[in-house]
Symmetry: C2
């Protein structure tokens, strides 16, 4: 008998209400019934993105929406700056190069946030840059980049500020219109608490204007075509009906909780996770500018992180994420994004404590949990 | 946003596999399809009860099965001994008196198990006693009575040994045939991990023989009629179709886990819960003969237990049970019965710790959790 706990930064746990909504008998998408659901979700997505602009829904993973941002807004040979401090920063650059853009890479050490001054200089040195591409939350390193400050740099330029908010939207502050983000992206399997399969992309007026001149090839990811369909409460191609029904459900839940409470909850869980990990003497991966989506930490050198993560998942029933590339086997990422409560942090930390003991590390049981409790109790006082 | 954790000694959490099985479209009960499911569940119930005899399924709560035991096996004026050490012991007596039996009460202090010697003397003093009625696990006081020893006392007498195993079957050792239990009862919403609505009753040959002479009135709870129907893989009256479909699913899961592992798991969780509670300086309700279904403990005097339990349930999302009758407001019962894992104990103890702090009790965070972890880790070593 094993109960399974999903403490990974995507997919994340799906609330029963969404699971039940998605388990209803299938309906057809070219019907008033579906259009009513779609319309409600569409309006609530604008609330989520904090924008007056349209937010397009794509039947794709987040990477699909990233590709659509590139292929709809740029032209062959355009210069873009990519902030590369992890797997997803790297992905911005890979997509851009695949479609013939000229990438100016700003490489950032994994675990650190980008230095705004470096980006500023880079933009000044490259007056023709058409796009500045970044992650609000770099999931692979549990870092958050300074989005508000970066947005300031592109405001008065012919440069789109493009933000992958896949593990930031619904977690941290990324008010699209207020901060001047030109393109904001997220996916269903993160703070939206849904299965994977949907991606969302919001474009500013400036982005829609640039899209008029774009000459890169795209067929499925045709944002202008989707925008026209969106106005009629439908999609250009068959939408992921079930996921959109689930989306409508979770967005209603999120509106009920409210932006402020959502951000506060993720912040509390993140602080608790970090305090717990540090109380156990473990080193944080992103001590300076952490993302509230997950807490990355280094395991003691004698522990093989790949085996550690596998053991917790398969023997303890507690799934967390490991590291990628040069961090493979070295770090663990304990998530706190979406449908997470105080007790998910308690579960995660108690499993880490028992895992360390199993792997021969001298650990005092309850020490990490206790440090977390000192913060988690804020919810109840 | 609140996640809810059900840590009560019934209803208990229902595994997804059972929920999904029960969410399938309704089928009719007088069909080969349903009979096949019923037959499989019937055989697996005999495995669960560890008996060669028939186990009857009733669409009723556990109390219905208790009533059926009385009304099918006794006659007006029959003498029975009732071991009364809690709400459910008391219930045996109330049902017996309602149907005109003469009850000889053996009252036991709440929190204690019955003394076998007292029962022995009582049986010797009352040679005409037709039944000895007891709980294997008295849920209201988290006590387990010495079933194996009590069974010895009735073996060579014309006395039925009737055991309410509602929170014992699937938790602790109660091998019906091996120990010589004449009637064993359980319900769906406990270790069977199902919603409430089904009760189960197994009768020994001796019990079926006594049933031949019974003259108490019953219509719905007609065990002889049900036994005849059981042989044809059906029930006398409409069965709770959905619950029996769920039953078939959980029984397969339980067979896979196996008696030994099930008992071991509940024992580990119970020891961990007790160690955690004691590490926090809280007094156990049943220190001497605890049931493995739940851990009852006294709150510090300054804490109103009714408000404490309500706060944990409604503000923390962690539901435990309080006390009944003279224990109302004084105790808490943290369950570990059925679909419970190590982390349910961690959740429960961390919530108790934070609850105590909220209620002004000076408690060291992580201390209860740590004591539990020292035992829970057995599963992984």
């Amino acid at each position: 008998m094993m109960k399974n706990y999903l403490l990974t930064p995507g997919p994340t746990p799906v609330p029963s209400e969404a699971l039940l909504a998605m388990a209803q008998p299938m309906i057809h998408h070219r019907t008033p019934q579906f259009s009513a659901i779609f319309n409600e979700a569409k309006e609530n997505l604008k609330w989520l993105f904090r924008t007056e602009e349209d937010v397009i829904m794509l039947a794709a993973s987040g990477t699909g929406a990233m590709e659509s941002a590139i292929t709809n807004c740029f032209s062959k040979g355009d210069e873009v700056i990519v902030i590369n401090g992890g797997k997803f920063g790297e992905r911005w650059g890979q997509i851009s190069e695949k479609f013939g853009l000229k990438v100016i890479w700003i490489n950032v050490e994994w675990g650190e946030a980008v230095d705004v001054e470096i980006v500023k200089s880079c933009l000044e040195e490259n007056p023709n840059v058409k796009g500045l591409l970044v992650q609000a939350s770099e999931t692979s390193t549990t870092v958050s980049h300074p989005i508000k400050e970066l947005a300031e740099l592109t405001k008065d330029r012919n440069t789109l500020f493009i933000v992958d908010g896949i593990t930031a939207v619904g977690v941290m502050e990324v008010p699209m219109d207020e901060w001047g983000i030109d393109i904001l992206i997220t996916g269903s399997q993160k703070a939206l608490m849904l299965p994977p399969g949907l991606a969302f992309i919001g474009l500013s007026k400036k982005a829609w204007e640039m899209a008029e001149d774009s000459n890169l090839p795209h067929y499925y990811f045709d944002l202008k075509k989707e925008r026209k369909n969106l106005a009629k409460d439908t999609t250009a191609y068959t939408p992921a009906v079930t996921l959109i029904i689930g989306l409508n459900e979770v967005l209603k839940q999120m509106r009920e909780e409210g932006h402020e409470n959502i951000v506060k909850r993720h912040d509390r869980l993140a602080r608790a996770a970090k305090a717990g990990v540090q109380a156990l003497g473990l080193k944080l991966l992103a001590p300076n500018s952490p993302s509230n989506c997950a807490t990355g930490f280094f395991l003691p050198e004698e522990v093989d992180g790949k085996v550690f993560v596998k053991t917790l998942r398969d023997e303890f029933g507690v799934a967390m994420a490991g590291g990628q590339d040069h961090l493979t086997g070295k770090i663990v990422r304990l998530a706190h994004i979406g449908y997470f409560s105080n007790y998910d942090i308690v579960i995660g930390l108690s499993a880490i404590e028992m895992g360390l003991r199993k792997f021969g590390v001298n650990v005092e049981f309850g020490k990490g949990v206790a440090a977390a409790q000192e913060i988690l109790i804020e919810e109840y006082m």
